[in-house]
């Protein structure tokens, strides 16, 4: 009985004590220090297509902020629109043995061997948005196939012959070997093969250039005066597509896609675009940071993972658009 009393007293005392400690100093997060410790002296190298447009600028801003917060080094090596420069940059990075290389591929093949070399050297490779056919530890980026399916189905709804429309649509692609083009095109054609509502009258590449996109679209509209819709593969290029449509004075439905930069919302506002499928760069940036964080903490060897975080598509139309639909680079740099 005495023992019981003592124990009771002891328990009571310790409970009171503990509560006092908690009330005064909180509790130590046992997980945090070891995790932060794992970030120390780690290095992430980012090799974008070019640090001169919204997508890589956005990702870099978000990744840079996280690196500063978590305490690992973050370097950018600009491929400057050249696969050769990009390959050299990755090769150079491999020599420096960073922990992770984040790479945005120009096309589905060029970097494949170099990426394999990086993995052989024990460097994790994360591919962003534009995938290579060579799978590495992680892919973070747009779901091109899903976007193609969505756009094709929308075209059936908007332009299908059963809607009393001509059913004629045109595609303005990116470079023929880019992930954005090949996967999206495959999805569009497989959806449209199932139906005879829609006819693709032209499928040309605008090569990510708005002047080229404008010239192509203009010719296609001349050729098919009853053209009903266009699926463009990138909003920055499709300002040219939209300009040609505006000039023709015709009511042609333009669906495009992009990172959801402010220019996309401006395009919707001034009527250049009818619908934008956004792959939400700030969200992708967060996904990238999470993948980087996981890989830096994991003990697993490079090349042993194979996972993908496909960005959920965010559909923006003039009706659904609000002030948070799009982002600006300054917001991302400020950590917004």
């Amino acid at each position: 009985m005495k023992l019981f009393k003592n124990m009771l007293a002891l328990t009571a005392a310790s409970v009171i004590g503990a509560t006092t400690v908690t009330a005064q100093e909180g509790m130590v997060d046992e997980l945090r220090e070891p995790v932060l410790e794992k970030f120390k002296d780690k290095k992430v190298v980012f090799v974008p297509m070019s640090m001169s447009f919204d997508l890589p600028e956005g990702w870099a801003a978000v990744m840079q902020n996280a690196a500063e917060l978590r305490g690992y080094q973050f370097d950018i090596r600009d491929a400057n629109w050249s696969t050769d420069t990009g390959t050299r940059a990755i090769t150079q990075a491999i020599l420096e043995e960073p922990d992770i290389i984040v790479v945005q591929n120009f096309d589905v093949t060029s970097y494949a061997r170099t990426l394999k070399r990086a993995e052989d050297k024990g460097i994790h490779v994360v591919q962003v948005n534009m995938r290579s056919t060579y799978p590495t530890d992680a892919f973070v980026g747009a779901d091109w196939h899903g976007m193609g399916e969505y756009a094709a189905n929308r075209m059936v709804e908007v332009c299908g012959t059963s809607q009393g429309k001509s059913g004629k649509i045109a595609l303005v692609q990116g470079p023929a070997t880019a992930a954005a083009s090949v996967y999206q095109l495959n999805a569009i054609t497989s959806v449209l093969n199932e139906t005879d509502e829609i006819e693709i009258v032209s499928s040309q590449t605008g090569d990510w250039d708005q002047s080229k996109a404008r010239a192509i679209t203009q010719t296609v509209i001349q050729q098919n005066p009853d053209l009903c819709g266009v699926i463009g593969f990138w909003d920055a290029m499709d300002t040219g597509t939209g300009a040609a449509i505006a000039e023709s004075g015709k009511d042609i439905y333009l669906i495009t896609s992009g990172g959801g930069n402010q220019t996309a919302c401006q395009g919707l506002e001034n009527g250049t675009f009818d619908e934008v499928i956004s792959y939400d760069v700030p969200g992708q940036g967060r996904d990238l940071n999470n993948v980087i964080s996981m890989l830096l903490q994991s003990e697993g060897e490079a090349g042993n993972f194979e996972f993908a975080l496909y960005t959920p598509n965010k559909i923006i139309t003039p009706d659904t658009m609000n002030e948070t639909s799009c982002w600006t680079l300054d917001q991302l740099r400020d950590g917004g």
Partner: protein, 338 residues
């Protein structure tokens, strides 16, 4: 002294009865045949709207080619034209977005382009660097300035409220797009300049034989400088039309094959790379042929890779025809090509 026209046609290869077979004629006939074939086989090709679109889509290329033609006629080549076009216009847009009035910003862009032309001209005329190397380096420097110093982004959008400027790219006068009028006006001015002014004659003389021109008493170096400055001016004009039509300027075109397309138009039209030959008419013929090709290939929905293959094959064919019609002789080979 023979006129440039005569000297050009006299030297050009074999005659066919009374008609000298010039490359210009070959290309004009090829263009005519293509035109007939496309008209017969492609629906809507022969509509006036399509023909206007056709010319309009090559008007920027045509304007650049006018500048290139001027340089090539005076013996030389300017590989920096696309860089000048993109970066000078980007400068104007960035300044305008930074608060300058748009007119003033455009003037600054124009001044920048002409200054670059002057530097190129100086390097070629006074430092005597072969034009191909001088302009290659200038192109890289100008692009570097653009990407490193002038703007952070490749694509820069026009400021709002410049409808008068957009009109240059999208508007029409008498049913003809303004960009075609501008192309025509530039062509006419350069034509008059080359044929009717002493300076224009000097360009031909220098292109034909620079030593002779020098001995004759022509101030060769200032003429060379002015030539590059004028070419830079046409590049700026082409940039203005491009920016006006898509409401933005994209510096990435510097990395594209556009400069080769420009050269293709010039060579295809029959302006010999050895200099001293050809005129504005050649550029027009070359531009129309490329326009026909591009238009038909788009209508036929030919893939981009195959389009490039066809364009390259045409360029090669044009070079072969040029080599056959203008055989290298002792004089030209001693002076060296560009």
């Amino acid at each position: 002294m023979t006129t440039p026209n005569q000297s050009a046609s006299n030297r050009r290869g074999f005659g066919l009865g009374n008609i000298a077979v010039t490359q210009e004629l070959v290309v004009a006939v090829a263009a005519a045949i293509m035109f007939l074939v496309f008209s017969a086989t492609l629906d809507n090709f022969l509509s006036s709207a399509n023909l206007i679109t056709l010319v309009r889509n090559v008007s920027v290329l045509g304007m650049m080619s006018l500048g290139m033609a001027l340089v090539v006629i005076g013996r030389g080549v300017d590989l920096s034209l696309v860089a000048i076009m993109a970066v000078s216009m980007t400068l104007a847009i960035v300044l305008a977005n930074g608060g300058w009035s748009f007119g003033l910003a455009l003037a600054a862009g124009l001044a920048f382009s002409i200054a670059i032309g002057a530097v190129t001209g100086f390097l070629v005329a006074y430092v005597e660097i072969p034009s191909i190397f001088a302009t290659l380096a200038i192109a890289a420097i100008v692009y570097g300035l653009g990407r490193g110093g002038i703007a952070d982004l490749d694509v820069n959008n026009l400021p709002p409220g410049v409808d008068w400027f957009i009109f240059l790219g999208r508007g029409s006068l008498l049913g003809i797009p303004v960009s075609i009028w501008l192309f025509a006006a530039t062509a006419l001015l350069l034509h008059l300049f080359l044929r009717k002014t002493g300076f224009g004659r000097f360009v031909y003389a220098i292109g034909d034989n620079i030593e002779t021109a020098r001995i004759t008493g022509i101030s060769v170096r200032p003429v060379l400088m002015l030539k590059y400055m004028l070419a830079a001016f046409t590049a700026f004009m082409a940039g203005a039309v491009t920016a006006a039509s898509v409401a933005s300027m994209n510096m990435r075109i510097v990395n594209s094959t556009m400069i080769y397309d420009v050269l293709l138009v010039v060579v295809l039209g029959g302006i010999g790379l050895t200099g001293g030959r050809g005129g504005i008419r050649n550029v027009l013929v070359g531009t129309v042929l490329i326009g026909l090709l591009l238009n038909a290939m788009t209508i036929l929905d030919i893939s981009y890779t195959v389009q490039n293959l066809i364009k390259s094959a045409v360029l090669l064919a044009a070079l072969v025809v040029e080599a056959l019609l203008n055989p290298r002789d002792e004089q030209t080979s001693q002076q060296g090509d560009i």
